[in-house]
């Protein structure tokens, strides 16, 4: 009889490597700590941050030069875009996006979606990716197509801190 098990994915999710470092500094009161953002912006990336690198530089964000409509989408200031549940024993703290996030339809050139990154600035370039979700099999996004993360009861983004 065969037993199917699951191997670790090269794709990753959670905190970026940079945020691992800054959060650690915050916890111990050392310089170089985490800077709480005024908002989170959803960014689209061509490749994976990867489980190993956990890096926005590895993933490469979409560019306005390639998708003329590309813009990071705001989650909602001061955490308003998130529904954060109380800690649950056996699970942790589950938090999801409250509102539907819609990326403007792609223009100019088809894009590849390999990751969603949560940024600390409106961009469309620069700033920091604080946490992310890789798509193990990147999606082809044709011209004229929206990337949509639903909100509410069937959220597009789900995180657990544990």
């Amino acid at each position: 009889m065969l037993r199917r098990s699951f191997l670790a994915f090269a794709a990753g999710n959670g905190l970026t490597a940079q945020t691992d470092g800054s959060i650690t500094n915050t916890l111990i009161g050392k310089a170089g700590g985490y800077t709480s953002p005024t908002n989170n912006w959803v960014g689209c990336f061509t490749g994976n941050f990867t489980a190993a690198a956990k890096s926005a530089a590895t993933a490469v964000e979409w560019l306005v030069a390639n998708d003329g409509a590309y813009a990071r989408q705001a989650m909602g200031a001061s955490g308003a875009g998130w529904t954060v549940n109380a800690y649950l024993s056996g699970t942790g703290v589950v938090w999801t996006n409250t509102n539907t996030i819609t990326q403007p339809a792609v223009t100019l050139n088809a894009q590849t979606l390999g990751a969603i990154g949560l940024m600390d600035s409106v961009g469309p370039t620069g700033g920091n990716a604080n946490f992310f979700i890789d798509v193990a099999s990147p999606l082809s996004v044709a011209v004229g197509v929206n990337v949509i993360l639903s909100g509410g009861g069937s959220p597009g983004l789900t995180f657990t801190t544990y």
Binding site: N13, A105, I133, N146, V147, L149, G156
Partner: protein, 60 residues
Amino acid sequence: MSEVEIVNEPMPAPRASGLRMKGGAHIVLVEEATGKQVSEVYTPDYIYQNERCTRDGRKY
């Protein structure tokens, strides 16, 4: 033909020490002009956290 046993692993309990974060996405691609959905994906940790599907991605 061998019989295949599919094992759905249980949700891991929080670690007794440390701080970790995991995240998952449900992404839908929609053609703006027609409203037609052209693609939909659940990443593994979305499935895992929301228990919407078995661990190997099959919806129940």
